[in-house]
């Protein structure tokens, strides 16, 4: 059975283009309420994922308690950056999927690879209709395969580009966090080491990404299931000499 697609016209982030596309059709032009970076990496027991809890409305830091990482089924976590309403729609599709899977009760369950493949098909299909779900999604999970416990981490974005990797970052994280992860990630890190590395990346993003806020959530997925930790803040340091007297170097009254 193919995945379900929302009916045309139900989009929050669409805007009507008159006549040319026909009545009732929309093309997504730009996102409205957006989340910023998501970072994830594989560690010894599974996958760790982190992001801030903010959603911006253009340049305004409008919503400050938004959960951008959610559990999917028994084996996966999904994190999203980009248009938040599209993320909510994706969660609804995944809900239908996991519910019907659960009701089968036949010993088979959707693992992270299956969810990632499904999302890739959905995202690519929407892109081809010029009505994308404006998100970059990070999919991580652990599932028992024929060769034992297999960790999985991948991402798919709004144009359907998808890949698997040991560490993933979206949005500004691509530019600021990936270099750190490439330098410092290693196989089989402990949970504490993984959290330290993630916090290092989050701090850089907090300082340098204007749409990030100082309130983060870390989540992990292991064979025991998904755990999403309560939000917390990182300590920042602003005591630099240049910030002491900001108008020191300014000449004149304007």
């Amino acid at each position: 059975m193919a995945w379900q697609q929302p009916m045309d016209g139900s989009h929050a982030s669409g805007s009507k283009v008159a006549a040319a596309d026909g009545p009732g059709t929309q093309r997504t032009q730009y996102p409205y309420v957006t989340g910023t970076s998501v970072i994830a990496l594989k560690y010894k027991d599974g996958v760790i994922m982190a992001c801030d809890t903010g959603a911006s409305y253009g340049s305004t830091l409008r919503y400050k308690s938004v959960e951008r990482i959610k559990a999917v089924g028994k084996h996966s976590l999904i994190g999203a950056s980009g248009e938040f309403s599209d993320f909510q729609e994706i969660l609804r599709y995944l809900d239908e999927l996991t519910l019907s899977d659960h009701m089968w009760d036949d010993g088979n369950s959707l693992g992270p690879k299956e969810v990632h493949s499904y999302l890739t098909r959905v995202m690519y299909n929407r892109r081809n209709k010029f009505d994308p779900l404006w998100n970059s999604l990070v999919l991580g999970g652990v599932k028992k395969g024929p060769k034992g416990e297999e960790k999985y981490l991948g991402m798919v974005n709004m144009i359907g580009t998808h890949f698997e990797e040991n560490h993933i970052a979206t949005g500004f994280g691509n530019h600021l966090a990936i270099p750190i992860l490439r330098a410092e990630w290693c196989e089989d890190m402990t949970f504490e080491e993984a959290v330290k590395l993630v916090e290092k990346c989050l701090l850089v993003l907090l300082y340098r990404d204007r749409s990030s806020i100082n309130k983060f959530q870390i989540a992990k997925i292991t064979t025991e299931g998904a755990t999403i930790y309560p939000p917390y803040s990182l300590k920042t340091h602003w005591g630099f000499a240049a910030f002491e007297n900001p108008s020191k170097g300014a000449v004149g009254s304007w």
């Binding site: 089968w104 010993g107 088979n108 959707l110 299956e114 395969g145 024929p146």
Partner: protein, 344 residues
């Protein structure tokens, strides 16, 4: 009246053809009707035929007659409600569906059996003539699943194509094999549709669906009625009762059988259906799918003739052993891990 008709016969061509046809129809109806009626009243024929077992005692003769009449009546009723699949009989049966299941019994035999990790399908090959190749009965549906069918092979071919496309579509979206139970359900739903449309007929083929998924190896039987059940072992087609009897004696140990043991039992079951005819690699097909101990998947594949011949020969070498051991194995239910009789 008659003169009026004859008058119209000689006037204008169009009108008199119309009247002529009406007259002929009316005439033929009154003459042909009674003959038609007698054809559908079998008991009238029966009355005219001599009764081979007429009893001298009139009371017993009457009882026999009453029974016969009942049989005739029920047979007549059965004929009345079996014209299309959307008609129920008064006893709550759909005769067209039951007739479709009869078609399955006409096909040559197929057996399926499974352990925890492997599933085996075997079929007895039947050729239309010595000149032709034999009918293909075992089809691969995906790397992890296959079917063996009995009945109308054309219907079977179409359904195999449907199953293949379902597996491919699932693999495209989810990058994972379609679980066998869900595959069997889709097939059963498709069969059910044909039992509830007046312009369709039920598929005349029974399918043994064998496959592997996360929860192990599975074997399902899908019948034309749209029902499906999971089995440890099963046989369908003509003379399948002999195979079923054989399997019933041995199935309890199957979960722990090795793939080799499963293949041997499948061949033995097929042998039962051949009833005297010699089992060779040319009159049977065997296929297996499963997961090896190291976790890798053995994809669904027909076993080649050479290997089948080797197995048959090694089975013949220990021919006496199976009969004796089978009787004792049915009493050793809790010792399923004992070596199969052929290994003695």
């Amino acid at each position: 009246m008659l003169t009026h008709y004859t008058h119209s016969l000689t006037s204008g061509p169009r009108r008199n053809t119309h009247l002529l046809l009406c007259w002929l129809a009316f005439f033929s109806c009154s003459i042909l009707e009674p003959k038609k009626n007698t054809a559908t009243k079998p008991e009238e024929h029966a009355d005219r035929e001599p009764k081979p077992y007429a009893h001298s005692d009139p009371k017993i003769a009457r009882e026999i007659q009453a029974e016969e009449d009942e049989d005739e009546a029920s047979r007549m009723f059965r004929n009345q409600y079996d014209t299309d699949v959307t008609t129920w009989s008064p006893a709550g049966r759909l005769f067209q569906v039951e007739y479709a299941m009869e078609a399955v019994k006409q096909g040559s035999a197929c057996v399926g059996l499974r352990s925890r990790t492997h599933a085996v399908l075997a079929a007895a090959n039947k050729a239309a003539s010595e000149l032709s190749s034999h009918q293909r009965k075992v089809f691969r549906v995906a790397d992890h699943a296959g079917v063996a069918l009995a009945g109308l092979t054309a219907d079977g071919r179409v359904l195999s194509r449907f199953l293949r496309s379902e597996c491919i579509n699932h693999a495209f979206v989810y990058d994972a094999p379609l679980p066998v139970s869900r595959l069997a359900l889709r097939l059963a739903d498709k069969a059910q549709v044909c039992t509830q449309r007046s312009w369709k007929r039920p598929y005349g083929v029974g399918l043994l669906v064998a496959g592997l998924d996360e929860s192990g190896a599975h074997l399902y039987y899908n019948c034309p009625s749209g029902n499906y059940f999971e089995y440890q072992a099963f046989a369908i087609g003509s003379r399948s009762q002999a195979a079923k009897t054989f399997l019933e004696r041995r199935f309890e140990g199957y979960n722990d059988y090795t793939p080799d043991q499963l293949i041997r039992d499948a061949l033995s079951a097929i042998k039962e259906t051949l009833q005297g005819e010699k089992l060779t690699s040319s009159n049977c097909t065997v296929a297996i799918v499963g997961r090896k101990d190291d976790g890798t998947v053995e994809p669904f594949e027909m076993i080649d003739n050479k290997r089948i011949q080797e197995i048959i020969e090694s089975m013949e070498a220990v021919e006496e052993a199976p009969v004796a051991a089978a009787e004792s194995s049915s009493m050793q239910e809790d010792k399923g891990t004992d070596a199969a009789p052929m290994d003695i």
